[in-house]
Amino acid sequence: MYDPTVARLTYRALLGRRRALILGALPLLLIVISVIVRALVGADDQTASDLLGGLALATMVPIIGVIAGTGAIGPEIDDGSVVYLLSKPLKRPTIIFTKLIVAIAVTMVFSALPTLIAGFILNGNGQQIAVAYTVAALVSSIAYAALFLLLGTVSRHAVVFGLVYALVWEALFGSLVAGARTLSVQQWSLAVAHKVAGGDLVTSDVGLPTATVLLVVVTVLATWYAGQKLRSLTLAGEE
C-alpha cells in the first residue's frame, strides 16, 4: 500500500525549491507571535488557549492542510505529468494512500510541531493546553489532508474550494450558525483535545464519540473515493 518512490517524488514536489521556505514561514510567524505575547502578557492560560485555538488550529492547520493536501496531487494532474505515474504498474489506491501519508506527515510537521512549541512558549504546557492543541492539530491534519487530497483529484480549482471550506464554512458559518459547527473538522478535533485537556479552557460543540466516528468516516471515505476518482481520471486540456 505504500510506495517509497511515489513518496519521494511527492516530498520533492511539496518541499522542493522555495516551497519549504513558504510553508515554514507560517509556523515561524506563530512562534514569533507567541514570543511577543508571552513577553507582553506573561504566562496566562486563557490567552494561550485563545491564541492556539484562534490562530493555530482555526487558521494555520487548514491552510497548511490545503497546501499539502492539494499540492500532493493537484499540480501533477494540472500539468498532465500524472499520466507517467499512472502508467506505472502501481495500483491507483496505492498512489493515493502514499500521497496521503506524505500530505499528513507534511501537515503534521508544519502545523502540530509549531503548535506544541508555541504552547510551551505561551504557558509552559499549563493545564495540558499545549499538548491538547497539539493532539487536535495532529488529528485534524489527518482529516484535512484526506479531504483536500480528494478535492485535488476532483477539481482543478481544488485550492479555492479547500480555502472556501476552511475559511468561509468553518470560520464564518461556524461562528454564525451553530449547526455548521457539527460538520467541521476543527470542532471534531477540539472534541479530542477537550478529552486530553479535561478542563473548561478547551471546549467543543461535538461529543467525543460523534467526533471520533465522523473523523474516521471522513478520512476513510475521502481516501477511498480519491482512489476511485484516480482510477477513472480523464485528462482534459487547460480549463
Binding site: L29, I36, G54, L55, I63, G71, G74, V159, L163, L167
Partner: protein, 302 residues
C-alpha cells in the same frame, strides 16, 4: 539492386528566390498604447471569466453575487423597517466582507499572471511593441479595476437603496463618497499584494494558497495581538499593531480620515497623527508592489 540516379548538381546561376505573391502589410500600425489597452481589457474581462470557459466564470461570478446579496438584504430590511439609517456604514461593508474579497483576489491574481509564466507566453507579449512597464501597468490596472467593481457594486446597491428609502441625501452621498475612496485604496492595495505573490510562482494553486495565507494569517495574527493588547489595557499599542496587515491598514486609514468607526478591539481607531502613518504605509505598499512587479518582469522569461 539500387539504381543510382545520377545527381545533377544545381549550378549556381539557376538558383533564384521565387516571388510567390505574399504582400507586405501596409495597413495602420496601432502601436504600443493600443496593445496596452487590449491587454488591459482582456485581463479585466478575464478576471470575471468573460471570454473564457463556463467553468472559469462560475467562481468570480459567484463571489460577485455573494458580495452584493447582503447589501440587497440590508436595503430591504432598511426599507421594510423604515429605519433612519442603513444597518451598516458604507466604509464598514468591505471590512465585513473581507473573506470574500480575499478569496477573489487570491483566485484571480494567479489566473492573471501565473499562466503567462507557466506557458511561457510572457516573451510573446514582449515581442509586441509593449514594454515591461506597459505589461505591469495593464495587469495591475486590470486587477485593481476588477477589485473595484467587486467592492463598489454593493456600495452602489446600498446607496441606491438608501435613496429609494428616502434617507437623508447629503448624509448618504457623503458616506457613499467616503466608501468609494476607501474601496479604491483597498482595491489597489490588495491587487498589488496579490499580483506580487502570484508573479513569483508559475503554479496557480500554490499562488492562490500563498495570497490567502498572507492576507488571512496576517489579519488573524494582528487582530489576535490587538485583542490581547486591549485586554491588557495597553490600548495605545493597538493602532501601531494594526500597521502589519492589509485589512487593518485600510480599516485604520478610513477610521482616521474617512469617518468610519473602527473595527479594532475596543473601537480605538488611530488618531489623525497615526492616520498619516497609515496613509504613508498604504501608499508606500502600493508603490512597493509596483516596483517589485517591475523588477520581476525586467528579466522574466528572457
Amino acid at each position: 539492386m539500387a539504381v543510382e540516379n545520377p545527381v545533377t548538381a544545381p549550378s549556381g546561376d539557376q538558383t533564384r528566390i521565387h516571388n510567390i505573391g505574399y504582400r507586405t502589410y501596409d495597413g495602420p500600425r496601432l502601436g504600443r498604447s493600443y496593445a496596452t489597452r487590449s491587454l488591459y481589457s482582456q485581463s479585466l474581462r478575464g478576471a470575471y471569466g468573460l471570454g473564457r470557459s463556463v467553468k472559469s466564470k462560475v467562481l468570480p461570478m459567484l463571489l460577485f453575487v455573494v458580495m452584493c446579496v447582503p447589501a440587497a438584504i440590508m436595503v430591504a430590511v432598511a426599507v421594510a423597517t423604515k429605519a433612519n439609517d442603513l444597518p451598516v456604514d458604507y466604509t464598514r461593508y468591505a471590512i465585513i466582507m473581507q473573506a470574500v474579497i480575499s478569496l477573489y483576489v487570491a483566485s484571480q491574481a494567479p489566473q492573471s499572471v501565473s499562466r503567462d509564466l507557466r506557458f511561457k507566453t510572457v516573451p510573446l507579449y514582449f515581442s509586441r511593441p509593449i514594454e515591461t512597464a506597459d505589461y505591469v501597468r495593464a495587469k495591475y490596472a486590470a486587477l485593481a479595476s476588477a477589485m473595484f467593481i467587486l467592492t463598489a457594486a454593493p456600495l452602489i446597491v446600498l446607496y441606491v437603496g438608501a435613496l429609494l428609502a428616502k434617507l437623508d441625501f447629503a448624509d448618504q452621498t457623503k458616506g457613499f463618497g467616503q466608501g468609494l475612496v476607501s474601496v479604491a485604496l483597498l482595491s489597489l492595495l490588495f491587487a498589488g499584494i496579490g499580483l506580487v505573490i502570484a508573479a513569483v510562482t508559475p503554479r496557480r494553486g500554490f499562488g492562490i494558497a500563498a495570497v490567502i495565507a498572507v492576507l488571512t494569517i496576517s489579519y488573524g495574527a494582528v487582530s489576535t495581538v490587538q485583542a490581547i493588547a486591549d485586554a491588557q489595557g495597553s490600548s495605545g499599542a493597538i493602532p501601531w499593531i494594526g500597521l502589519f496587515s492589509p485589512v487593518t491598514l485600510i480599516d485604520g486609514l478610513q477610521s482616521a480620515f474617512l469617518g468610519a468607526s473602527s473595527a479594532f478591539p475596543g473601537a480605538v481607531g488611530p488618531s489623525s497623527g497615526e492616520g498619516v502613518v497609515y496613509v504613508l504605509a498604504v501608499l508606500g505598499l502600493i508603490a512597493a508592489c509596483y516596483g517589485l512587479l517591475m523588477r520581476r518582469y525586467k528579466k522574466v522569461g528572457l
